[in-house]
């Protein structure tokens, strides 16, 4: 009965959604004048950032990203609160299978390159696909690999916290610098440089690096907290 109601409702919802989206059309220009062109031109001409998505994420809609970083920060904080235990409860984490030697050596071998790849991705975020979030996530996967391979691999919570905080402060600090120098939060304070140059886009690249560090630290922290949860 309940399932029938749900199925019927979802069917109706699906019909409406398909109706809407076929009406919108796929792969065509939907609107006459949007902000899209302004972003493309602004990114190319003013910011000199070749990856438009990055320029949107970090500069045009940088405020969203600030919020987004905060969401991650909040998530890791809420997670810590939800799974909070008094200190002495924190014991060894449960691992179902001990890793084999192959996995152990492989992980050791892979870890630096994963971190390096992540760093590469967020450093070149304004030039090619990628960026702080992607790079940070890659780094976090490196830590995940280490954490699930080694039973007693541990990451210092304090150190994660330092990275997290300093990255966040750097982000907001750069934004505030723009606020005080150019009278608008997150405004560019460095020379924009040349399109497709590593040192282009002024403050954007730096912010994305900060975001990368922050995301990496936060994701690692989240993984670490959850992994340490015993039942």
């Amino acid at each position: 009965m309940k399932k029938a109601i749900i199925l019927i409702s979802l069917t109706i919802l699906g019909v409406y959604l398909i109706d809407i989206f076929t009406g919108i059309g796929f792969g065509t220009q939907h609107f006459a004048s949007g902000v899209k062109d302004a972003y493309l031109i602004g990114s190319k001409e003013t910011l000199k950032v070749s990856n438009v998505v990055t320029s949107i994420v970090v500069n045009f809609r940088g405020f969203d990203t600030l919020g987004e970083v905060t969401v991650l920060f909040l998530a890791s904080m809420a997670l810590g609160g939800i799974l909070y235990k008094k200190r002495h409860d924190v014991g060894e984490r449960s691992v179902l299978f001990p890793s084999t030697r192959i996995v152990m050596s492989g992980a050791k071998l892979l870890f630096p390159s994963i971190v390096l790849l992540g760093a590469y991705v967020f450093i070149h975020g304004h030039l090619s696909p990628g960026g702080g979030f992607q790079g940070g996530t890659i780094i976090a996967t490196g830590f995940l690999l280490m954490l699930i391979t080694y039973r007693n691999y541990s990451v210092s919570h304090n150190r994660l916290s330092y990275v997290e905080s300093f990255a966040g402060i750097l982000f907001i600090g750069l934004g505030l610098a723009g606020y005080f120098i150019n009278n608008s939060f997150l405004a560019n304070i460095f020379p924009a440089g040349k399109l497709n140059d590593l040192f282009s886009g002024g403050v954007i690249g730096i912010i994305y690096v900060a975001v990368g560090f922050k995301v990496a630290a936060e994701l690692t922290g989240i993984i670490y907290t959850v992994l340490h949860e015993k039942d």
């Binding site: 809407i20 949007g34 045009f60 919020g67 905060t70 969401v71 909040l74 966040g168 405004a187």
Partner: protein, 494 residues
């Protein structure tokens, strides 16, 4: 002037990132810094409120891009009024819970205060932002800090409440994204003012459907029936002051969002009638449900939901008087319900289940808290000469001016129920003998100061409502002025 609107968001976030560092050095800083930040925000908002009476709405752009391109923050009389109210309440909640968990090591307390600060920040962000996707981000900030705060006490059933909240919140964010994308696909912009400007270009069908998705998404946060199942649980299980924060801050921001949608973005006439219907149903269901509650906080929660329904009704009337009444009700509800939550949580302190019967005979042991609770209850029932009366009068006058007699009759009938369940609690406080096992817990000094100042505000507004009506009046005028809003934002030369 102390600053510009962007600092409302940036300073708390900066503080949130700094606090973990200072917390390692000086443990008390995790309590103090959020308070300082909130006080700064209050000073900022008050000075901005002062400023805009002379210069008009303040629009600030982010990253130097003019509104349709960049994100902008709008501090208008309307949004400024709500922001100031929220920050003020946030500060009160902070002061009330300052000594919270003092004897436990600082880690949970650290999280509590940061989460609280970000809850306020997110709500203020929702109110100030002029960008619809940015609003989504802030809604999520509020949501996640809400989940964290709700599940703060590990011993209660708080995880259950938080999970329900999260479940509904996820559905809300999905539909919110859908609605945003439908609008973006048609208009190519995310700026509220430009959307409002271009809205006639959208086909009616898409307009209606995106509005419905918006109503679903924001209605979940605004606790309208039948989307409010999570709310009473959250109010009950969250720490006492957080109940006040939800009732006074979070819901208000959701109401703001829905009002901004209906009044500014969409030009659909039926939306206001829908507001009245939904609001009325919410009001009736919540108040009737509150009648037979056994737990104090749950009762307060349903009462709060009911009041929000009434606010929706007032907004749905659609005249300037209606908006005035709604804003007045928002203000009154914020201060009164906070007082009720604050004093109520001391009346049932140390009780696991927080049953209403635990307040029996507390009038003798906690005289001041009890009197304050009584003042709050009388005020929310709408008895003169307390603050609640004026908003009730305003809403009824607005309804009468729009010739909605049935509406008046229904509101008044349901109000009687409200009176009944509040009076039952008051009678218990004063006239029932105390059980031996119940222990009264004296409020701490900071909590007492907060509660007394709220009580004084209620009395003062009750005797002299003009203190606040001028500001509300300007806010109401501002909300009605849709073209002014669009013009303010789209023609900014910064």
């Amino acid at each position: 002037m102390v600053g510009t609107p962007v600092l409302f968001i940036v300073i708390p976030l900066l503080a949130a990132f700094i606090i973990p560092l200072t917390g390692m050095v000086w443990k008390n800083s995790v309590r103090i810094i959020p308070g300082l930040v909130l006080s700064y925000m209050l000073a900022l908002s008050v000075s901005l409120m002062w400023h805009i009476t002379e210069t008009g709405t303040v629009v600030e752009v982010i990253a130097g891009w003019k509104p349709p391109i960049g994100i902008n923050l709008v501090f208008s009389p309307f949004s400024g009024f709500l922001a100031t109210l929220m920050i003020f309440l946030g500060l009160l909640v902070w002061a009330y819970s300052y000594k919270f968990k003092r004897n436990v090591d600082s880690e949970p307390a650290l999280k509590y205060f940061i989460l609280l600060m970000l809850l306020v920040t997110g709500s203020v962000g929702i109110v100030l932002t002029g960008d619809i996707f940015n609003m989504f981000v802030f809604i999520e900030i509020v949501g996640i800090s809400g989940y964290g705060l709700t599940s703060f006490y590990t011993r209660r059933d708080s995880a259950e409440a938080a999970f329900k909240y999260l479940f509904m919140g996820s559905i809300a964010s999905t539909f919110l994204l859908l609605a945003i994308m439908i609008i973006y696909s048609q208009l190519g912009t995310l700026n509220i003012a430009e959307i409002a400007d271009k809205m006639p270009m959208m086909s009616n069908k898409l307009k209606v459907i995106s509005l419905i998705f918006f109503i679903l998404a924001i209605g979940i946060e605004a606790e309208i029936f039948p989307l409010n199942g999570w709310a009473p649980d959250v109010y009950t299980q969250a720490p006492g002051p957080i109940g006040a924060a939800f009732a006074g801050i979070v819901v208000k921001s959701a109401i703001y969002a829905s009002v901004r949608l209906v009044y500014t973005m969409f030009d659909l006439s039926g939306a206001l009638d829908l507001f009245i219907v939904i609001g009325l149903i919410t009001f009736i269901v919540a108040e009737t449900t509150a009648l037979r509650q056994e737990r104090l906080k749950r009762m307060l929660a349903y009462s709060s939901i009911g009041q929000m329904g009434l606010v929706m009704v007032a907004f749905g009337i659609g005249t300037k008087e209606g908006i005035f009444a709604a804003l007045f009700l928002i203000f009154n509800h914020a201060i009164i319900k906070s007082l009720l939550f604050f004093s109520g949580s001391y009346l049932v302190y140390n009780k696991k289940n927080k049953f209403i019967k635990h307040v029996n005979g507390m009038g003798k042991y906690l005289p001041i808290t009890s009197i304050l609770f009584t003042i709050g209850a009388f005020a929310i029932i709408g008895l003169p000469p307390f603050a609640g009366f004026w908003s009730k009068l305003a809403i009824l006058t607005a309804a009468a001016d729009s010739k909605m007699l049935m509406l008046i009759a229904i509101i008044l009938t349901v109000s009687i129920l409200e009176a009944v369940y509040y009076l039952r609690v008051i009678n218990r406080i004063y006239f029932f003998p105390k059980k031996k096992s119940t222990e009264a817990k004296k409020p701490t000094l900071n909590a007492l100061i907060v509660m007394i100042s709220l009580g004084i505000i209620i009395m003062v507004i009750g005797f002299y409502p003009d203190l606040i009506t001028g500001i509300i009046d300007r806010a109401a005028t501002d909300l009605m002025d849709k073209t002014g809003y669009i013009k303010d934002i789209l023609t900014i030369n910064n």
